[in-house]
Amino acid sequence: MSDDAPLRYDFAVHPGSTYERAAALIASARLAGLVVDLGAGVGALAEAMAPYGFETVGFDGDPANVAAMIARGRRAERLDLTADDAAERIATTIDDAPVAAVVMLDVIEHLPDPERSMALLGDLVERFAAPDTSPLLVLSVPNIAHRDLAAKLLLGRWDVTPTGLLDSTHITLFTERRLTDLTTARGFTELARNDVLLERTEQHVADLAVFDTTTLAQHLRALRRRFDRHADVYQFVRSYERTDAGVATVRRPEPTDGPFCSVIVRTQGERPMLVDALVSLAAQRDRDFEVLLMVHADERHADRIRELAATFEPGFAERIQVHQVSGGGRSAPLNAALDVAAGRYVAVLDDDDVVTSDWIASFRRAAERLPGRAVRSLVAVQWVEQRTGLADFEPVSGFETPYPQRFDFLDSVRTNRTPSCALAFPNETVRALGVRFDETLRVCEDWKFQREVVGLTGVSDDGVVTSVYRRWRTGGGSQSEESADTWIVDHERVVDDLDDEPTLVPAGSMRRIHELYRRIEQLEVELGRRVDDDPPFRFGD
C-alpha cells in the first residue's frame, strides 16, 4: 500500500461507533493499565480511549497503519498476529506494565483460524494477569445473521462489498452463538455488551423494498426477532473476564440430549389430586419422559412433594425433578420449567388432570407422523367437585368430549379449543422462538403460548383420547378461582397481543374465510338487514 493511498479501515470515531462502545466497556470496568489493541488499524480505539485517560498500545500487521498511529503520537508496533511468537513479542513490548484490557476489534473475522486467535488472546490475558486482577478481553465482530442478510438470502442474493457485513476480506463469519461458543470454550465469561444496533445496514438497498414496510417484512421481522434476539445487531461489542481456563459455562441441556418428552406438572403444594396425576404418569407404557414437578409454593411444601416423589418406585422417582418456584403468577413455574426441560417435546399436565397409559405414546405417534409439528391428542372432560371427609374431591359427571377431534387453526382463533394436557410442543422450536408463558396473564396463558407455537409449526393430531381434563364445579382450579371478568379481559389481551404481529394462516384458509363472509351476508339477509344486491359485508359496517 502506497503512503498516499486511502486507509481502508480509517473509520472515524463517532458516538456509537464500535470504538466508542468498546472504550465505554473498558472504562466501565474500572481497571488500571494499558490497553493492548490487536489489529489496531490506524488507532481509532486509542482515540476513543484517550478521553478516559487510558494509554493504548496498538499492534498491526500493516506498516502504513503503524506509521499512521505513530504519526498521531500513539504507541504502535508492527506485528503479524498469526505468527507463532506473537504473544511473546507483545509481552516483550508491554514489559511489566499493568494491562487493563486486551482488545481485538473487527479483526478475528479477517484471520484464518478463530480458535488460534482466541488461544492468543487467552494466552495474553493470562500473561498480563496480576495476582488479584485480570485484564478485560474486549472483542467485536460483525453479525452475519443480521436481518438484512437474512432478507437477501431469501431473494438468493449474497452481495460482497468492500467493507461492512460482507467485507470481501472476511475469512470467517460470526453469529452470536458462534462468538459465545468460541469465548466460552477458552474459559471466558461475558461481562458486558455494548452492541452496535443498525436497523438498516449497507446491505439494505432500494431493490429490497419488498422487505421494507410490507406485510411480508413485518412477518419476517417478527420471525427473526423470535428466532434470534440479535437480528438487529450489526456488530457484537462485548467484554469478557477469564474464569477457570478451559472450564466452559454450564449450558442448558440440549433437547437432542434428553428424553422424548419433558412433562411439566405445576402444583401449588401437596394438593390431593396430584397423586392421581403422578400415578397416571408412572403408569405410562412409553417411559421415555421426565417429570418437572414445579412447586409454586415455599420450600417446606417442596420438601413434602420431594418426599411424595420418593415413595414411588425408583425407575419413576428418578425421572422426577422437583423444583420450588417463588413469586410470580401462574405462568412463573411453567417458564422456570422451560429453562430446564431437556426433552425433545414439552407437555404441561396440571396437577388436577389425569392421563391414560398411552398419553406419551400418543404424542410420539403424532410426532413420528409429522416431525417438527406440535402434537395433539384428545381430551375427555369430567366435572368434579371438592369434598370434605373421606374424599377430597369426586367426579359428578361422566366424560364429555367438547373439543374438536382435529386441531383447526381458524376455529381456535375464536377461543381455545385444546386444553393444555392435549398438546406437546417441539422443545427446540419453543427455544428457538423464545416463546414463554405470559406471566402478566392470570388465565389464558396456555392459549397464547399455544397460538404462538402452532402458528408456525402446525399440529399433528393423533385423534385418541389420552387425558381427562377435570373441570371444577366447586373449588380447585383456575376455572373457578378467577372471575368471569378476568377471563374476558385476558382473552381480549391475548387476541390483541397476537395481533401485534402478522399471522400466518395455513393453506385452505382463504376459502374458509371467504365462506365465513358469505355466511354473515346470508344471515344479514335473513335478518332483513341487507338485500342481495347490497355491497359485500365489511368489518365496521
Binding site: P272, V275, D276, L278, V279, S280, A282, A283, R285, T311, F312, E313, G315, F316, V354, V355, T356, S357, D358, L378, A380, V381, R387, G389, L390, A391, D392, E394, P395, V396, S397, G398, F399, E400, T401, Q405, G463, V464, V465, S467, V468
Partner: protein, 305 residues
Amino acid sequence: MGGDGRSLAVQVVLYDDHLDSMIRLADAVAAAARFVRDHSDVTRIVWRIGDSSRWPCLADDAAAVLSARTRGSIDEVSVTFFGANLGSGGGSNALARLGDEDLLWVLNPDTYPAPDSLWRLLDTIDRDEQVALAESRQIPIEHQKTYDPVSGATSWACGFSVLARRSAFDSVGGFDDRFFPLYCDDVDLSWRLRLAGWKVLHVPRSVVFHDKQIDADGGVRWTPTAARSSTIAALWLYRRYGRPDLEASALADLGRSADPVALSVLDEYHRRVADDDVPRPLEGADHVATFVDGQFAPRRFSYVG
C-alpha cells in the same frame, strides 16, 4: 424380612398377559409393599401370580425376573400355571389356598397402584374389625357407584384392587367360581360378606390406576368378550339374589336382540342352567342386593357406553 407381624399376599390372576405389563406392575407393587412395611406391622408380603391362560403367558424365568425387581419389598414371588382357565374368581381362590396370609390384596394385572394405596386399604381394615373388604379408587375412569361419604360403606367392592381380610374371605368360601370367567364375582363376594354381617368400604384416597381407554366420544365401552361375560354374570346375580323378575326381563330383552353377543349369552345361559352349573339362589339375601338401572349400586354419575 419376615418376623412376628402380620402377613399379606398380593394376588394377581393373568390371562394372556405380557411380561412388560407385569414389570410395570412389579415396580408399583414393590413401592406399595415397601410403604406398608414402613408404616404398619405387616412383616411378610408375598406375591402370588396365577396364570389362567391356555398356554403359559410368561416365560419360565418370570418369577425370578419379578422377584429380582421387587427384592427388598416382597419376600417371595411365585407364578402358578393353572393349566385351565379358572376364571377370575376361581383363580383368586386357588391362589388364596396356596398360603395362609392374614390379608389378601386382589389386584388386576393391568393396574398401577399408588405407593400408599395398599397402606390406605390396610389402615381402613385395621380401624374396624368388621370390615371385610376395602376397595381402592380407580383412575382415570372412576367407578360411578355411590358410597357413604363419611364411612365409605358401599354396596360392593370392585375386584380390580381390593384388600380382603382372610378370615372374612374364608368364612364365606371366597369367590364363587361359577361367575365364570369374570365379572360380578366381586359383587357376589361383597354381598355374601355383607349378608354375613361384614362391612365393605370404598377408600377414595387409595388410588390405583386401571389401564382403560376412553372413546373419542367420551364413551367407556366393553369389549365383546367383556360385554358377554358381564351380561351372563348379571343374570346369575338376579337369580341368586331373589330377582327372578329382572332375570326374566333381561332374558326377554336378549331374546329380542339381534346382537350376536346377546345370542351367544342366551346359548350359554341355557346350557349352564341345563347343566346346573349356575350360582345357587341365597334365601333371604335380597336385602343386601341393590339393582338400579342394570347396575348393582346407585350411581353418582354415568358414563356413555
